[in-house]
């Protein structure tokens, strides 16, 4: 007995020591759907933390949503109409939406949201320059613009609708954090956010009048380590995987398949990996040089080595087929002899016979290849392709902040980067936001100063009909194909694994499986 007491004593002592650290955390109850993600939420701020902002769409849906085919439909809005001049947009708000405390969602909440975001949320600063007035009329919210703006419905597929009575007293929305219950009007609302465990707990909204969800709660479990997240999936600790603008790692897909317990949602990505060039510097400003580069790349090899074949060889038109108004342009191909002859005709010759081509200034071409760890393998392949062409390049591997800084300062020649789904849609759509020199942003290159391209972007923004938009979309893709401001390296698939015990998964091109419709359709198989 005495011996047992000695054995138990250290355990008791440890527990006593841990009591000050004890914390009330939520426990799962009822039918729970658990999603594992590498998108770690660092603060419980739905407007200040980009990951939290994505997850909050389940509790605070957006005004519009993107359907599986890329078209736009109402979400909080039942329908919408736009005037012929494209300057008045009227969104009819659904009348069956209720906040989780039982209060009805009103058009005033929607009006408040956009007035408030325009004034206080830097990422919505464009509204101050575009929207003249927001008003309500019965069950509609009317936006009067100072110029036609074809993308308003698309922009409104990203901002969460906020409760006026809560947010009107909050002066700095990005700094507002709440780890407790947050009012929501979606099928689920955020019951708590535990940053210590990295879990967001959603509960079913008792006042939701739409199709009934098949779960009592949804939990988002964040993992700092991708390998451990894969183990958690296999072990059944989480039921599905989600990553915004990303796929489940291709090398790990086979292992999950082999367990026999998983199925996959495979969706063509509207984002892509591409070769960016500093068009403000020689020789990248020379179209012949860019064309030669495009023929130097072995696209099939790149697709096989970097994406394990989950995708396809891209076209010169850059924009992937999964985007609305895709136009078929010439497929990119490797043709080294053609690449060399283009360079030769354009005056890039190896006059001194050292194996390296000289630029128009007579000096050996030695390019700075700015890259980040995520793109190391692709960059190394690119360096080899350039070498085959007689072009030397030096890899400069940096962290994300340094990449942004050096990219903005133009301290590079070539870079490998990616476009996210929203990135492809931002600005004038179809990837224009990455190239237009009038733009700034963390991920964009803003290197294209061509007035023809600028005009095309402005025309898209001012378009007033779908047929006009389609026409401009085709022109943009032709422009990309002819001028190659960026070269797509491959179009890939987004692979999202889920446990076979669940069915009914639905993915949209913008947020993947993290959309309201999906959480209403998923159910546990019998």
């Amino acid at each position: 007995m005495k011996q047992n007491t000695y054995k138990i004593a250290p355990v008791l002592l440890l527990c006593l020591m841990l009591i000050p650290f004890s914390t009330a955390s939520e426990e799962s109850s009822g039918m729970v759907l658990k999603i594992g993600t590498p998108n770690v939420v660092k603060s419980a701020s739905i407007l200040g933390d980009s990951n939290m902002g994505v997850f909050a769409h389940l509790s605070n849906p957006t005004l519009m949503k993107m359907a599986a085919d890329g078209s736009l439909e109402g979400l909080t809005a039942r329908s919408y109409e736009v005037s012929e001049d494209g300057k008045t947009w009227k969104f009819i708000i659904r009348d069956d939406l209720y906040w989780s405390d039982g209060e009805k969602l009103t058009p005033e909440d929607v009006q408040f949201t956009f007035d408030y975001l325009a004034e206080n949320y830097p990422a919505a600063g464009w509204m101050k320059e575009t929207v003249n007035d927001i008003s309500t009329q019965d069950d509609a919210v009317i936006f009067k613009l100072n110029k036609p703006y074809s993308r308003l419905n698309l922009e409104f597929a990203t901002y969460p609708i906020l409760a006026k009575r809560i947010w009107e007293s909050i002066e700095e929305p990005m700094e507002y954090t709440n780890e407790g219950e947050m009012l929501g009007f979606g099928p689920f609302y955020i019951n708590s956010t535990d940053l210590g465990t990295g879990v967001i707990y959603f509960k079913r909204n008792p006042h939701w009048k739409g199709a009934s969800p098949n779960f009592d709660s949804v939990e988002i479990h964040a993992f700092a380590n991708m390998d451990v997240l894969s183990l958690a999936l296999e072990k059944g600790d989480v039921d599905a995987y989600y990553k915004y603008a990303g796929t489940y790692p291709y090398p790990s897909v086979k292992k999950l398949e082999d367990t026999g317990n998983f199925e996959f949602v495979e969706k063509d990505n509207i984002g892509l990996i591409f070769l960016g060039m500093n068009l403000k510097k020689e020789p990248m400003s020379d179209l012949s040089f860019r064309k030669a580069l495009s023929y130097a790349i072995n696209y099939s090899e790149m697709l096989k080595l970097d994406a394990l074949g989950f995708g396809q060889v891209p076209n010169a038109g850059f924009v992937p087929p999964s985007m609305m108004n895709f136009k078929q342009t010439a497929q990119l191909e490797q043709n080294l002899s053609l690449a060399k002859s283009i360079l030769d005709s354009a005056g890039y010759k190896d006059a001194d016979g050292n194996g390296i081509l000289e630029g128009k200034d007579g000096k050996d071409i030695n390019l700075i290849f700015l890259t980040r760890t995520d793109y190391q393998r692709v960059t190394e392949l690119m360096v080899d392709y350039l070498k085959d062409l007689g072009i030397e390049s030096e890899i400069k591997n940096v962290d994300s902040s340094t990449w942004i800084k050096q990219k903005d300062a133009g301290e590079y020649d070539l870079t490998i980067t990616r476009s996210t789904p929203w990135g492809m849609l931002m600005h004038a759509n179809w990837g224009t936001g990455y190239f237009d020199s009038r733009r700034t942003g963390e991920g964009v290159l803003h290197v294209l100063e061509d007035p023809e391209f600028h005009k095309l972007c402005d025309d898209i923004l001012a378009a007033t009909s779908q047929s006009q938009l389609q026409d401009y979309a085709y022109q943009v893709q032709d422009y990309y194909g002819e001028n190659l401001p960026g070269i797509a390296l491959y179009w890939n698939k987004v692979v999202t694994p889920y446990n076979k015990a669940f069915s009914g998964w639905y993915s949209d091109p913008l947020y993947g499986i993290f959309n309201v419709d999906n959480f209403l359709s998923v159910e546990k198989s019998r």
Binding site: L16, A123, V228, S401, T420, G423
Partner: protein, 312 residues
């Protein structure tokens, strides 16, 4: 005792390091605004300017430096625009967990490492050679790899421990359950380092004249080791423990990443990537204070254990 000269030296070191803490983050390319909103968010020029003003980045560097010292003297560590909280609250929240994870591991690693290392250095046997081989393998292997293997075998395969986090339900037992494996891994790494140093140190000391004299006096092995050799062999370990103590907050980074724990290591790492100056400055300040205090403590311990240091 701490002399006036030494105290002045510590005060100057503290001033210089705290000043460096301001300049080091700013010497990296970028600033806190560079990586604030996400890769596909675009800002208008006026929004950028507004944010720079709010973050104090529009002020001259000299002014920012003065503000920095002004805040430190008022014990104000500033505000993180990336994490939307006061830095002191953030550090308090993360530090308590990291200390809970690292401190027991450091203490256990020090005690076990020195005792086992001392014995292994003092007398060789087949068992001790095997033990040294095993510990050397741990010492040489990357902590990330070993931790992942342990997690795979014990958490995934055997299901003995959770895969992530400091807790799930938050009860004391639950926390202990979550902390056991990461803490045991840290203990193992600390133990292996201390073991190897102590073993080498004892090997060196046991050939000294005083050890031979003690044996000639007829003392038993255990008495020679723990009364005479141990004390002298301990000196390099004290220096290392002082360093360990200083880096106890940031040293658990790999463990925090493998076990998805939101501690100080990941806080500093994320702040470094996002150029979150206030968090970096605040964390560096705490580390500075800990390093300087640990060195001070090591100084005092040295003079207690080694009379030669006292006489100097």
């Amino acid at each position: 005792m701490l002399s006036g000269k030494k105290a002045t030296r510590y005060a100057i070191a503290l001033f210089l390091i705290i000043s460096l803490n301001f300049f080091i983050p700013r010497s990296m390319p970028g600033d806190p605004l560079t990586n604030l909103l996400g890769e596909d968010i675009s800002l208008t020029a006026s929004s950028v300017q507004e944010l720079r003003e709010r973050m104090g980045l529009d002020r001259p560097l000299s002014q920012q430096f003065l503000d920095y010292w002004h805040d430190i003297l008022r014990f104000d560590l500033g505000y993180s625009f990336h994490l939307h909280r006061n830095v002191s609250d953030l550090i308090y929240d993360r530090m308590k967990w990291t200390l809970l994870l690292s401190l027991p591991a450091m203490v256990m690693g020090a005690i076990l490492g020195t005792l086992l290392g001392a014995r292994a250095g003092w007398k060789s046997s087949a068992l001790r050679r095997t033990q040294t081989g095993f510990i050397m393998a741990i010492y040489c292997a990357p902590p990330y790899f070993i931790s992942l293997i342990a997690l795979y075998l014990l958490s995934y395969k055997q299901g003995l421990f959770p895969l992530k986090g400091f807790y799930s339900t938050g009860s004391a037992l639950d926390i202990a359950h979550h902390l056991f494996l990461p803490s045991a891994m840290m203990t193992l790494f600390s133990l292996s380092r201390n073991y190897m140093i102590m073993k080498g140190s004892v090997l060196q000391e046991k050939g000294s004249l005083y050890a031979t004299f003690a044996r000639a006096k007829g003392l038993y092995d255990e008495q020679i080791l723990f009364r005479h050799v141990f004390k002298n062999a301990l000196l390099p370990i004290i220096t290392l423990l002082a360093l360990d103590f200083g880096f106890i907050l940031s040293g658990a980074l790999f463990i925090e990443i493998v076990f998805s724990m939101n501690g100080m290591g990941s806080l500093i790492y994320d702040a470094l990537l996002s150029r979150d100056y206030p968090v970096l400055q605040g964390s560096f300040l705490i580390i500075t204070i800990m390093v300087v205090s640990a060195n001070l403590l090591a100084d005092l311990l040295y003079s207690y254990l080694d009379p030669r240091v006292r006489w100097q």
